[in-house]
């Protein structure tokens, strides 16, 4: 049986306009056979969750370089829990100081991809997670 392609939301949360990484990752995921929905800039946690549910995605990839991750990313996870969307995994890319990575993971972030990560690492991380789930 052919697997249905994974659906991924790539979102720019917060106000920063640095979308180079988000767009490169979005294209790499699409090239790897996933269906990608890219939100564009300046998304609030509410908008991210709403789009993720509407689009029925399995993965949310959030890009943020402004330093507002501490407030904004746990808010996304909190809302997902409220919606009982336990199947959606959240991964994060951008400038995230090392000491914040633990905090984000404690809040339920599945993976954090710092500068220098490859698109290949991100693709295989996602594939691996969904292989395990089956």
């Amino acid at each position: 049986m052919a697997d249905k392609p994974l659906r991924v939301l790539v979102g720019k949360i917060g106000l920063d306009g640095h979308d180079r990484g988000a767009k490169v990752v979005a294209q790499a995921l699409r090239d790897a056979g996933m269906e990608v929905i890219y939100t564009g800039l300046r998304q609030t946690p509410e908008q991210i969750v709403e789009t993720a549910l509407q689009e029925d995605v399995q993965v949310i990839g959030l890009s943020i370089l402004s330093g507002a991750h501490i407030q904004l990313i746990p808010a996304v996870l909190e809302m997902l829990r409220e919606q009982e969307s336990h199947d959606i995994i959240v991964i994060v890319g951008g400038i995230i100081p090392k000491e914040d990575i633990g905090y984000l993971k404690e809040n339920g972030v599945a993976g954090v991809f710092s500068p220098g990560s490859t698109t290949e690492q991100i693709v295989s991380f996602i594939k691996q997670r969904f292989k395990e789930k089956k």
Binding site: A22, G67, I95
Partner: protein, 557 residues
Amino acid sequence: MSDQNNLDELLRAKEAWQEKVNKALEKQPERKEFKLDSDLELEKVYDPLDLEDFDYLSQLSWPGQYPFTRGIQPNMYRGRLWTMRQYAGFGSAEETNQRFRYLLAEGQTGISVAFDLPTQIGYDSDHPLARGEVGKVGVAIDSLVDMEILMNQIPLDQVSTSMTINAPAAVLLAMYMAVAEKQGIPLDKIKGTIQNDILKEYAARGTYIFPPRESMRLVVDIFSFAGKEIPNWNTISISGYHIREAGSTAVQEVAFTLSNAIAYVEAAREAGLEVDQFAPRLSFFFNAHSNFFEEVAKFRAARRIWAHLMKERFGAKNPRSMMLRFHTQTAGCTLTAQQPDVNLVRVAFQALSAVLGGTQSLHTNSRDEALALPSEQSVLLALRTQQVIGHEIGVTDTADPLGGSYFIESLTDHIEEEALRYIDRIDEIGGAVAAIENGFIQQEIHSSAYRYQKEVEAYKRTVVGVNRFTDSGEQSIDLLKMDPATSRRQNERIKEIRLSRSQGAVNSALQDLRKAANGKDNLMPYILTAVKAYATLGEICGVLREVFGEHQQQNIF
């Protein structure tokens, strides 16, 4: 070189060399393909044959002479070095003022203000969308009170100030003018720059507010107002920096920046301004990336293209209108989080390329900027890097020292040619505004960014410490810690201002601004009145949002 005998002799001699090369290649093949970032395959060596039609007077001439390829000053850095201007700002106005005064005390010669994202997008610190962002990537400025604190004890008649502000540039400029007035400084004495380059915000940087047409009106209003009131102010800094950071090549950086510049010149002329009235105050901002010679050639090519455009296409008469004056920043996107001290070396080479390319001012990035905003110690090293280049290594002792190099001149010609090809394409699309609206420029930038990433991942491009020469050990570095209380304190300050100001004066200033925005008047005087009444940035931009609407981005990848 045009002498036929000489040419034949050269060709014969070159054949002998070519034979040697062939033999050498049999023993040892070359390491890889040698290409510029802009995809040109490089020759093994450059020689007079590459510059057969070269004409010194028309292509180079002397520094300070049209077409300014060799620089805009007749003796370049022998008179005055470039302005050492470190982009700085974080937390509150108090903290940033401290950092400015520290940098000035350490020998920095100009100020460059980084604003936080809510300020850049026209929201007050207490706006719901400012959540988590206040004071993070720059200083939070909500009202004139913050600007007064930011510039406290900085003599605005002696220091020039650059402000990286775009969509709400008019408001921050008005605040700066109001502070100068309070310091008792005549407005014709203040010097500085506002970025005010909205087109690259749509294409690459993302801090737009209003739709393009309305934004262009604000830009032109500033050109016109500043021309009369603040003659020493650079009314725009047309920026390739962020286009390059978003992933473009060097050629695209030049082409898209100059296409944007053409759009501004055309908009100003349509509004009835004479080209020589405003063009001398246009300034530029480029990226200094890692391919050293390509970067040097890029700066030289950009100057030559601009001079030709202004003279031939726009009929400028004043040589100052034809001079491309620019600020440079080293490439943030080349900094690595791995082995951060190695960034010092990258930055030094990039900065050197900017100086050899004839920059008027320079920001050197700090080694820790792939991790956080820079610490005081890291910023000091970055500034010291400029001081070494300026004072120790002799590269400033003669103008355009690489001029006449076969390689540099060939590259300069190549970049000029390729950039002009892009500019023609953009003209065919209908100019930069149309090429941004239909996504052409964004798509071109994204394709280059994607190609770059794939090359790194395929090891076709080496990034020391990332895909080669990696180090398993962790390099520890002390990072700047942000004060988590900034947001709360900003909100308290806004409350105090709202209580202490004359609300009647604010209301009427905002009402007048609304009326003017709906009409055709220059908006600057209205914004200045509102700012002086202590209307907040969010209130002023709020009025303009109501009248102009907001830009909706297309999501292209």
